[in-house]
């Protein structure tokens, strides 16, 4: 198995075009498990971990650009945690310190699991995904990027380079149900953002449909949010919980997170 280790984004995009079979790897917290257990045998790997262009975050005119290589640990730290508190809270529930030090939001988008914990907070903030290839750069709403279970709109030759968010004023939070507090895949999860300027409340939930999904209600009808969330969900029975339990838990999470946000 070949490993390409570009040191610039341009070089990475050229390699991506030349070697479409090479699997991108950033933190490796999903890819390494697949390799070790033989679930994936790519001919080659394209290591993105040396690319400075994907690291950290930057802010320009109120628009935050989170590099695809931003780790959960970084998302939990100030000043980012005060700009995107729901993402920080969600990040803190991911795996363990070891996983959070290595796992990235770009990797979470790449995996596109319905349970990806970075997805609900970013969806609720109406995040856009920045995609680059040797042909150029485009952006699309995260909601359009997520197509299904482990399916995304990433085109051949493209890499996720960043997620762009304009944090809205107003309270937001995240909650997740799992068997315990650490190291669990969400049974269901939910992020709520109160967007006072737009006069609406947005809730995005995970682990209860083929992708994380976002629901919007006018601020004046905020009380209806839990019901709307349940209507938008299409959970299944699986090893972790039943669909009925997930519906119940989503209703509770929506009411609870909303209360936390509106109480203040």
């Amino acid at each position: 198995m070949e490993v390409f280790r570009p040191s610039t984004l341009d070089e990475a995009l050229r390699l991506r075009a030349e070697h479409p079979q090479a699997r991108p790897i950033q933190g490796g917290t999903d890819v390494m498990v697949e390799l070790t257990f033989g679930d994936a045998r790519p001919e080659a790997l394209l290591d993105l971990s040396e690319l400075a262009e994907l690291r950290g975050f930057a802010e320009e005119d109120g628009l935050l650009r989170l590099g695809a290589g931003l780790t959960y640990t970084e998302a939990m730290q100030t000043p980012l945690a005060s700009r995107l508190p729901a993402l920080a809270e969600a990040s803190r529930t991911v795996g363990s310190p070891q996983i959070r030090n290595r796992g990235t939001i770009g990797g979470n988008l790449g995996t596109a699991s319905p349970a990806g914990d970075a997805l609900p907070p970013l969806l609720a903030e109406r995040a856009e995904v920045e995609l680059a290839s040797a042909r150029g750069t485009r952006t699309m709403p995260l909601a359009e990027f997520l197509l299904g279970v482990k399916r995304t709109a990433l085109a051949p030759g493209e890499l996720v380079t960043a997620v762009r968010v304009r944090p809205c004023e107003g309270p937001q939070t995240f909650a997740k149900v799992g068997q315990r507090n650490a190291m669990v895949i969400a049974i269901c999860s939910l992020a709520v953002v109160v967007d006072a300027e737009a006069g609406e409340v947005r809730a995005a939930f995970g682990s209860s449909a083929v992708t994380a999904r976002c629901v919007v209600v006018p601020l004046a009808e905020a009380a209806e949010l839990p019901e709307r969330v349940v209507e938008a969900a299409s959970p299944i029975d699986d090893v972790r919980a039943t669909a009925a339990y997930r519906r119940h838990a989503l209703r509770v999470l929506a009411a609870r997170t909303l209360e936390r946000c509106l109480r203040t």
């Binding site: 280790r5 070089e11 490796g28 790997l45 290595r102």
Partner: protein
């Protein structure tokens, strides 16, 4: 940028190099090629923490790091903690607190506690719990491990 077969890195302060096997992890490279068996291989999927090492000073599961990604980087394993024949204070605290039974989880826990105390010299119990949530121990029930962390923090 070339496809890698041989890597060069710093392990416990020494320049080391070795030949890689396919998409192997840093964990198997450390254990099998560099003959540093201190980092343990239990789950190979990031769940147990027994393979914990410091990569450029950051706590990671070495089973989830592609060995090729460590090229040019700095790795500290449990073997790199003792100084001049004396155990690291965290290792000594584990011995003194009786925090070791079968010992399989111990190297990973010791590395995780070294990392914790570096960031937070006097952690609360909740902070210890959160910091060690990625390290499983099947023997001790964790009480003595907490004692060891408090002991090491108290002596610092």
């Amino acid at each position: 940028m070339l496809a890698h077969v041989r890597i060069d890195l710093t392990v416990n302060g020494e320049r080391r190099e070795g030949v890689l096997r396919g998409g192997e992890s840093l964990l198997t490279f450390l254990r099998d090629t560099l003959e540093l068996p201190g980092s343990k291989n239990a789950c190979e999927q990031g769940e147990c923490g027994s393979c914990s090492v410091l990569l450029d000073g950051t706590l990671v599961c070495s089973c989830l790091v592609l060995a090729a990604q460590a090229e040019g980087h700095d790795v500290v394993t449990v073997e790199g903690l003792a100084r001049d024949g004396a155990l690291h204070p965290v290792q000594q605290a584990f011995v003194d607190a009786g925090a070791v039974q079968c010992g399989f989880c111990t190297p990973g826990l010791v590395v995780a506690v070294v990392d914790l105390l570096e960031r937070m010299p006097h952690p609360s119990d909740d902070q210890i719990r959160e910091a060690l949530s990625g390290n499983l121990c099947r023997c001790t029930g964790y009480a003595k491990i907490f004692d060891a962390v408090r002991l090491a923090a108290g002596r610092a």
